[in-house]
């Protein structure tokens, strides 16, 4: 029996669950425009796993990087949920660098 995949599955489920928390909190205080940086960090982490020879570390970081990429696509919808009053709303956000440029881009929403 090979428990590698299922143990990893539980760990990944936990990281996806954490995604719900940071997407909600992150959007509230920092705003949706950070999606570019979150997505870039996720992709960078996934790319880095190619060079990590330890299988556990490579796999866990792969799941974590993917949950960052996914979460980055959820920030836009989460902003709408806040505006609708489904979550506590803060109008003042801590904006990312180049927020005025990112503002003009179409944010991904899957």
């Amino acid at each position: 029996m090979n428990w590698f995949g299922l143990t990893l599955g539980f760990a990944t489920l936990f990281m996806i669950g954490l995604g719900f928390v940071w997407v909600i909190r992150g959007e509230r205080y920092f705003g949706r425009l950070w999606w570019v940086y979150v997505m870039a960090a996720g992709i960078a982490i996934i790319a880095a796993t190619l060079f990590i020879s330890n299988n556990w570390l490579s796999a866990l970081l792969g799941g974590f990087g993917a949950s960052l990429v996914w979460g980055s696509t959820e920030l836009n919808t989460q902003a709408v949920r806040g505006e609708l009053g489904w979550y506590p709303f803060r109008e003042k956000k801590i904006l990312p660098p180049f927020a005025d440029v990112i503002q003009k881009w179409k944010a991904p929403s899957l």
């Binding site: 995949g5 990944t12 949706r32 902003a79 806040g82 505006e83 609708l84 009053g85």
Partner: protein
């Protein structure tokens, strides 16, 4: 030259696509299916199959992807029930052509065919009057 390790990529692809597909499929199937026990049963069976594959294969790349798929599919089975609750609360739009949803629309005052999330963020919170007008205009 040390070879690249594809275990992380396998875990990343399985995670991203299972969350994406789960997100889309749960909403679509919950909307169309009259009897939720059928998709719940199918997703649990699929999840258990991937769990078995993950346990039995000696290949770590395959074990990683199938282990993640196993857990997310079983979670999706649970999400069908949670999605039904969102429809009851009006947070996800009801499908009047689905008999189960028609019953929800009749029995839950918050349930609606209006899709609240089908809009872009505008940067400010909606007032109670605006929310009422939005829902009213969509009937």
């Amino acid at each position: 030259m040390v070879g690249l390790n594809f275990v992380g990529i396998s875990a990343a692809l399985a995670t991203f696509f299972s969350v994406w597909m789960g997100h889309a499929l749960v909403r679509k199937i919950e909307r169309e299916t009259a009897d939720l026990r059928i998709p719940v049963g199918i997703f649990i069976a699929l999840g258990l199959s991937f769990a078995a594959l993950s346990l039995l294969t000696p290949n770590l790349i395959l074990s990683a992807a199938s282990g993640i798929l196993a857990l997310t599919l079983v979670w999706d089975a649970h999400e069908f029930i949670r999605q039904q609750k969102r429809v009851q609360r009006g947070r996800a739009p009801a499908n009047p052509n689905n008999p189960r949803h028609a019953k929800i629309l009749a029995e839950h005052p918050e349930a609606t065919t209006f899709d609240w999330l089908d809009r872009d963020p505008r940067g400010s919170q909606y007032s109670a009057d605006e929310l009422a007008a939005m829902k009213g205009s969509a009937k």
